[in-house]
Symmetry: C2
Subunit: 153 residues, 2 copies
């Protein structure tokens, strides 16, 4: 059966499906709170993202079902002669479609969209506890040229 | 002699000093264009940064001299229960003060500022060709838990 994946900006109605995907993950399960109703912090973040022209929360859908999510942030930098970059974060796909290439389509969509917005670079960090994710991004063409450093505040 | 370092938001008058620092670097020298007048792309990026409340270009000064720079981006994410993060990029110090702890003061200023803005995490990527930079950030408390992946567009 042909399936057609569509990509669109997330609406608040998608937020439960998005948090469900983020929580259904070996790292996400420790840090997310998939509850009914959703904790207010998710709603506030959603509002901050959607009111910022440099942030896009994108969902992948098959029919009415949300089966993937990613956030793309567009940032102007002085470095690289004042070049814009796209940063991808929070990429997840639904367990119902895992292994079917939905993740690849999501990232390829982000790459195309970043080109259209005039970015010279697209970047992301991936947890070293996810060796499969590293290989996944390398297959798409990303190079692990940098260390990704984090400090909890 | 006591020196006093002050931190402030960069103005357009600082831009030449900033680009000079970015270009005076073994990686930056290959990708920046420190020319008079500055290429327009730097001016445009400066305007995009300063008109965005979620981006701050910060300079460190001793007296009237600009001796350090960093850009801090504040991003709302759905992940981590809708937590905000700060991302540091383009950290450079002037050769005239290298080895005097200015870089450490810059980063500590960014950490404090990110706390004040309610971020739960501060992050950056550093090129694997800069092993000294990695050790520098680790001494401050950053953990290299992630791979930093880039794809040129």
């Amino acid at each position: 059966m042909e399936r057609e994946i569509k990509f669109r900006t997330a609406t608040e109605k998608d937020l439960e499906s998005i948090v469900a995907m983020l929580a259904d993950d070996f790292l996400g399960s420790k840090r997310e709170r998939y509850e009914h109703p959703l904790p207010t912090s998710y709603i506030k973040a959603f509002e901050a993202i959607t009111s910022d022209p440099n942030n896009e929360l994108v969902v992948a859908c098959i029919g009415n079902e949300v089966i993937g999510v990613q956030q793309i942030t567009f940032t102007p930098y002085i470095t690289h002669q004042g070049g814009w970059r796209a940063t991808i974060e929070g990429v997840r796909t639904s367990a119902s479609v895992r292994g079917q290439g939905v993740g690849t389509e999501l990232i390829k969509w982000a790459i195309q969209h970043a080109k259209e917005r005039g970015c010279h670079l697209i970047q992301l960090t991936t947890d070293k506890q996810r060796p499969d994710a590293l290989r996944f991004y390398e297959r798409i063409g990303f190079k692990a040229t940098h260390e990704g450093l984090k400090l909890k505040l």
